[in-house]
């Protein structure tokens, strides 16, 4: 019987709740999460089924002051696992909790995290969109050569892809924003 496995999963930058649930479910099924590596590869090793609660924080300031940041979570009983794409992963056995414990205790701080994700991840995307994609669309559509034709198609595809991503992420952000600010 294999005692290690990997799973491929893709979670967008606003799907941390789904990711937490995924990791907890694996634990309940007897797979202990060891690490996540590039391209959405999640590594697990076989264990006795465990109810381990996973929580993701997004805090660039915390990553910049890693030691103090991790220490504060440790003091509160949360084990630090790793950082992955700006997120920090923490876990705590449900048996050590009094009721439902989370790493945030009020909606305002949950909203602060959503804002941090939005400003550090979404704003750069939007900037690239307006500073690179739209201008290239404009210059290439006025280029009559065949290379210009191909490039212009490439830019259009990029443009549509971008719009699609914006719509999906924008909707998820909006939902969080609305729920958390009541």
């Amino acid at each position: 019987m294999k005692d290690r496995k990997i799973k491929f999963r893709y979670f967008s930058i606003v799907e941390w709740e789904k990711e937490q649930d995924f990791l907890r479910r694996e634990g309940l099924n007897g797979w202990h999460f060891t690490k996540a590596t590039l391209l959405g590869i999640y590594h697990f090793e076989k264990c006795e089924p465990e109810d381990m609660v996973y929580q993701l924080d997004y805090n660039p300031d915390g990553i910049a002051h890693k030691e103090q940041y991790v220490q504060m979570f440790k003091d509160c009983g949360w084990e630090y696992v790793q950082d992955y794409f700006g997120y920090s992963y923490f876990r705590k056995p449900a048996s050590e909790m009094s009721g439902n414990e989370e790493i945030f205790c009020d909606d305002q701080s949950r909203l602060e995290m959503v804002k941090r994700i939005f400003f550090t991840r979404m704003i750069p995307l939007i900037a690239i969109f307006f500073l690179l994609i739209i201008p290239s669309l404009y210059t290439q559509s006025t280029d009559p050569s065949s290379a210009g034709y191909v490039l212009s198609w490439a830019s259009w595809i990029l443009f549509v892809l971008y719009l699609f991503v914006f719509l999906i992420l924008g909707r998820q952000f909006w939902k969080y924003w609305k729920d958390l600010s009541k």
């Binding site: 929580q55 924080d57 805090n59 300031d61 915390g62 030691e67 103090q68 940041y69 220490q71 504060m72 979570f73 003091d75 509160c76 949360w78 009094s98 414990e101 989370e102 790493i103 945030f104 205790c105 009020d106 305002q108 701080s109 602060e112 995290m113």
Partner: protein, 109 residues
């Protein structure tokens, strides 16, 4: 106190209030968690993500200041600006309490 500080911190969240109240004396993050738990008889247990976020934001806004580090724990204390904000908030809570008691008295009589 400028209008930005007013807008962000008045009125304050329960978490924010307890953090400032505890930082009238020097303390590190986990010290605040323990103090609040004792003050509220275990009813409020601050979570580390909330606490870390609040402390860095308050430090950035000048409500508290970093004193020193002890065993990887940052120790903070309230500043004059922090005290002003806390005073405003205390007055607001006193008013709430007084109004509540007045209404209660009137209901009884």
């Amino acid at each position: 106190m400028n209008s930005h500080i007013q807008k962000v911190y008045v009125p304050m969240t329960e978490t924010g209030f307890y953090i400032l109240l505890c930082l009238l004396e020097e303390s590190h993050g986990y010290g605040i968690v323990q103090k609040v738990e004792a003050l509220t008889c275990g009813q409020i247990r601050l979570s580390p993500g909330t606490l870390y976020g609040s402390l860095s934001k308050m430090e950035k806004n000048g409500l508290i200041r970093f004193i020193r580090e002890e065993e990887k724990r940052k120790i903070y204390k309230i500043t004059d600006l922090g005290r002003q904000v806390l005073d405003l908030e205390m007055k607001r809570i006193e008013r709430l309490y007084q109004n509540m008691m007045e209404v209660r008295e009137n209901e009884r009589s």
